[in-house]
Amino acid sequence: MKQQLYLWRKIKDKGMSQLIGLSALMMVGILFLILGYIFIKGVSALNWDFFTQLPKPVGEAGGGMANAIVGSFILLGLACSFSLPLGILAGIYLSEFGRNQLGTTVRFAADLLTGLPSIVVGIFIYTLIVLPMKGFSAIAGGIALGIIMVPVITRTTEEMMKIIPLTIREAALALGIREWRTILSVVLPAALPGIITGIMLAIARAAGETAPLLFTALGNRFWHSGLDQPIAALPLQIFTYAISPYEDWHAQAWAGALVLIILVLGLSIATRFLTRGRYYFMR
């Protein structure tokens, strides 16, 4: 009887460990399945034209997504120019001055912003910017992406600056350096690698966002002609092509997906080698 119970416990133990190993294996398997598929489909559709040509009219073969690739970079540049100063300075506030009611509130607000569905950001920017400006524009798209990046940058900056030991600040202050210079020239540079990690991951996330661009950047078949005008973006173009009925466009959507994934994964992997940063991958 006792023997049987022991055996049963043994079997259960073995069984569970098998199951657990299997689930880990499947998880990695899914990743390779998806990446592998995109890689195979994408590579066969990629060619030089893809990077240099504008899209062709509906139903005509050929053409590329050059404008969408450039458009994505411009949107990210706009998003950065807005979210970097905002995010970093707010992060500095949280880490250096934020141990009070306001700090807790802002921290909480930033956390909540991280969880805000990106489509909601799209609605909000449409009513805030697109309607008053009387037009879809690159600026609206850039700000929408920026809002998605801000909380990640803020919280990373805070975490990274908090890690810098108090003694470093004290040493600087003891030398008679003013507080603001201490923060900007001593603490911030020390925390910079970690902050850059956060920024790059925020960019990686924003680069793949489609939903907030639907009603802000709108899309453009040509090269952009100004920041107050609609602009093309890679994820948007992939979406449009993916739901189309044309084989040729499907192929281009796969190629676009491959380029986007290389961009995004490249940023993430680069970051991974830079630090042991985790979590920033996620919203």
Binding site: F73, L78, M200, A270
Partner: protein, 349 residues
């Protein structure tokens, strides 16, 4: 290490900035949005026009007729496009007068994906409405067999694909279904977006054609050019005179000709289910919507010139994609409309 990264980030940023400031002689960009119905033609037109007038760019985003109407009312675009004429209520919501400029005629076709089928399906108004109302659910239903003698219809469930976004194609199609089926009229009605009794929703004409292509034994409705370009089959529909008619250039032209004499002065009209042996029953004008009084003389002039070009030079591209030209008297009326586009009261053309 991080210094390099900072540098890279900085470079990316600069690149973006350079990109922003690049074009010194910046082309006039004219933004339009709306119907997916004429998108294959419009994208061709804009592409050709850019070759003749490289300083003017027409950026057209096909996000649905509903969106075309909404965005022109909100003035977020320079022109809208729709296949469903704006309602009086919508026209009132726009603060200024909006012109309806018909560009071409198109047909809404009932497209399907039945791999076994070698010749076009024949549908009567009754079977068509029964399918979309969800009363007729299998391809080998006796009602379908009766109108398709000698065709082996498969014993499969019918999957319906319809639009999920506001659409002029939907308007035209539901307009037709309402006119032939009282049950449809009372239960569903007509509009750019309706409360569908059944079916998979897909975004845009592209989306519907895409889903039909993906799912065997499905049925959907799209503009003719989409069915042809994506190599899908489409049905011959029984018209008012009881003949089964395939959508062709001739049958669409015929449909317009039958009703051309009675077109109202603002050109908002429906040519659903016209009389005539050869007329295809589900055809429609597709419109470009512009404000009569333009804010920006440069843009207004560019739009008027383009429309003029589209009328007189663009039509050959239309025929390639099976969009039919407007009847002669409608052309006259439309030319007058284009000439009415003005800036501070002065015509731009």
């Amino acid at each position: 290490m991080f210094r390099k990264l900072t540098l890279i980030l900085l470079l990316l940023f600069l690149l973006a900035l350079i990109g922003c400031g690049k074009p010194a002689t910046r082309p006039i960009l004219i933004n339009g949005a709306g119907a997916t119905f004429p998108y294959p033609l419009y994208s061709k037109w804009f592409d050709e026009y850019a070759k003749i007038r490289p300083e003017i760019r027409f950026n057209y985003q096909s996000i649905g007729s509903g969106a075309g109407i909404r965005q022109i009312i909100e003035r977020t675009v320079d022109f809208g496009a729709t296949d469903a004429p704006m309602t009086d209520e919508q026209l009132q919501r726009a603060k200024a007068e909006i012109l309806h400029i018909p560009t071409v005629l198109g047909a809404v076709v009932v497209t399907y994906n039945i791999p076994e089928l070698t010749k076009p399906l024949q549908l009567t108004p009754e079977t068509l409405s029964a399918i979309f109302l969800g009363h007729l659910t299998r391809w080998n239903d006796s009602r379908l067999v009766k109108t398709n003698p000698g065709v082996a219809l498969p014993d499969k469930e019918i999957t319906i694909v319809r639009r999920s976004d506001g659409s002029g194609t939907t308007f035209v199609f539901t307009d037709y279904l309402s006119s032939i089926s009282s049950e449809w009229q009372t239960k569903v009605g007509k509009g750019t977006a309706v409360n569908w009794p059944s079916g998979i929703g897909a975004k845009g004409n592209e989306g519907v054609a895409g889903q039909v292509k993906q799912i065997p034994y499905s049925i959907g409705y799209v503009e003719l050019a989409y069915a042809i370009q994506s190599k899908l089959g489409y049905a011959a529909i029984q018209n008012k005179d009881g003949k089964f008619v395939l959508p062709t250039l001739e049958s669409i032209t015929e449909a317009a000709a039958a009703t051309a004499a009675t077109i109202p002065p603002d050109l908002r009209t429906s040519i659903i289910n016209p009389p005539g042996e050869k007329a295809y029953p589900i055809a429609a004008y597709t419109y470009i919507l512009v404000y009569k009084e333009q804010d920006d003389p440069m843009k207004g002039k560019a739009i008027a010139e383009f429309l003029w070009w589209a009328f007189h030079r663009g039509e050959k591209y239309a025929a390639d994609l099976l969009y039919a030209p407007l009847p002669q008297n409608v052309v006259k009326l439309t030319e007058a409309k284009i000439k009415a586009i003005s800036y501070q009261g002065k015509p731009l053309l």
